[in-house]
């Protein structure tokens, strides 16, 4: 194969990668051609023009790659697509339509369709059994999608109407204040003319973080010792009560079960909620073997979420 033939073949290969939208591969291939020409191509006719033309292709690809990564944010999809997301990803087996609607709204939030999700969550505020979880999810969406100030405005709006009873409102307040405390945000939830009811307990004075943290769907831990040392392990949360999360670990993950002894502190834990990821630490609070049911033999593990 002559040098010209080799260059031609490499350029064809680069073009094919570009047509396949494999931009990095195309760029690398064009760069390879440039190196080859610079090294061995002094005899090529109009060599400077050839180098210039290929360099422009590399530059164009670099711009395209940059644009692609910049546009990696989640766009708003059509209403039809949002309805499909609702329909396909609600995963509610309870037969309860409110539960299914909640799951559908959570699915929309997970797919980044926050505005529609907020609308769906707000519809659920009218349902007594769903009000609290829907309210928390509205605030989460506002925090992640618009701004903390919007979440505060929403909370103040709820304060000034009678949709929530005092206990519910207090729980929502504790949730929001807990979020602020966790993220070092100093915000006053009350309008300057608002009166705080002194009889109401402030959960923030309680020990621990009960009700202050987001609902956690999964966690990633990296063990500091044992055979799994340094390996990140992702685990799904099966249940959460305040700052205690429960996980199920398969009996097959024997070394992981042995490592996670009661009292062990887990540093640098990533907590994943439907709308946010935060880091912190946790302490293994309880570990027990599941004695009955389909998960018999697996282990149930409680981890207490503590401040980092």
């Amino acid at each position: 194969m002559t040098l010209q033939e080799k260059i031609k073949a490499l350029l064809q290969e680069a073009d094919l990668y570009k047509n396949q939208s494999l931009l990095n591969e195309a760029k690398d291939k064009f760069a390879e051609v440039l190196d080859l020409i610079k090294e061995k191509g002094s005899s090529i006719k109009n060599v400077d023009n050839v180098i210039n033309a290929i360099s422009k292709k590399v530059e164009a690809l670099e711009k395209e790659i940059e644009t692609m990564y910049k546009s990696a944010t989640t766009p708003i999809v059509s209403e039809k697509a949002q309805n499909l997301i609702k329909q396909l990803f609600s995963f509610s087996n309870s037969g309860n339509s409110n539960e299914a609607n909640l799951q559908a709204a959570i699915a929309l939030a997970k797919f980044g369709q926050h505005e529609r999700a907020i609308k769906e969550f707000k519809d659920l505020l009218k349902v007594d059994s769903m009000r609290l979880v829907a309210a928390k999810n509205v605030l989460r969406c506002l925090i992640s999608h618009t701004s903390i100030d919007e979440a505060i405005t929403q909370f103040r709006e709820w304060q000034s109407n009678d949709l929530f009873n005092p206990q519910e409102l207090e729980k929502v307040k504790v949730f929001l204040e807990g979020y602020f405390a966790k993220h070092g945000i100093e915000k006053d939830l009350f309008q300057s003319n608002a009166q705080q009811n002194e009889d109401q307990p402030s959960y923030l004075e309680d020990e621990g973080l009960d009700e202050e943290i987001l609902d956690i769907s999964s966690i990633a831990i990296t063990l500091d010792n044992g055979p799994n040392k340094g390996e990140p392990v992702e685990l799904d949360v099966s249940f959460q009560a305040g700052n205690i999360i429960s996980l199920i670990i398969s009996s097959q993950d024997k070394s992981l079960i042995d490592n996670l002894k009661v009292g062990v502190k887990l540093n640098n834990v990533h907590f994943y909620s439907p709308v946010a990821i935060f880091s912190g630490s946790g302490i293994v609070a309880e570990k027990s073997i599941i004695a009955t049911g389909p998960k018999k033999g697996d282990y149930s593990l409680d981890i207490k979420v503590v401040n980092s």
Partner: protein, 204 residues
């Protein structure tokens, strides 16, 4: 997880096409949409980005008619292949009954195939499933590019991706349709066999 309506004698299963970005998952579904018109039960929905990359998922519902007295419906999905969409892939994978892994035959995508397969295994594990136990088919796509760009031999791809799994595999070209039907049919066969074992619907 299949939906089994005993009263109506209806089963709805979920098959997901998985694999590296730009590997041909959506093209597989597009070809199936055109080629299996009789079985298609609705529009194919594709949610793309500007660069024609799958953003969330593609969706194609098909009906297989009556099998052992049950009306069998299958939902076909693709996942976004780009690495940054890991959480979306995990979401789409939820409740999966069968899988098609679409591998890219081009040499430059060798590592991406292996990363995607590892990603699949990890995501399944998080749902308490094993890549070794779920119905899975491998498709070695883009065989039509042989002679135009360096592509891996079937033996190399088998060694990279299938030496431990030992699942059925097919060479294919989603753009020409070669191997697309075979891949889907084999996946349906394995999935239904697995569901029959799980649900024992013929005996109900």
């Amino acid at each position: 997880m299949p939906v089994f309506n005993i009263a109506k004698r209806e089963i709805e299963a979920k098959i997901v096409y998985y694999g590296p970005g730009r590997g041909g998952k959506t093209t597989n579904l597009e070809y199936a949409y055109k080629a299996f018109k009789k079985q298609v039960m609705g529009e194919m929905v594709a949610i793309n980005t500007e660069g024609d990359r799958t953003l969330f998922f593609d969706f194609l519902p098909i009906g297989l008619g009556k099998i052992q007295g049950c009306d069998v419906k299958v939902q076909l999905y693709t996942v976004p292949g780009q690495v940054q969409y890991k959480s979306t892939r995990k979401l789409v994978l939820q409740g999966v009954d069968g899988l098609v892994f679409v591998a890219d035959s081009m040499v430059v995508r060798r590592e991406k195939n292996m990363i995607a397969l590892k990603d699949l295994s990890d995501n399944l594990k998080e749902y308490g499933m094993s890549i070794f136990k779920i119905p899975l088919i491998l498709q070695y796509n883009k065989r039509d590019l042989e002679g135009k760009v360096p592509i891996m031999s079937i033996e190399e791809m088998e060694h990279d991706l299938n030496r431990q799994l030992k699942v059925p595999s097919f060479p294919g070209s989603a753009v020409t349709g070669e191997g697309v039907g075979k891949t889907l049919q084999e996946c349906l066969k394995l999935t239904l066999k697995s569901l029959q074992k799980e649900l024992n619907w013929a005996g109900k």
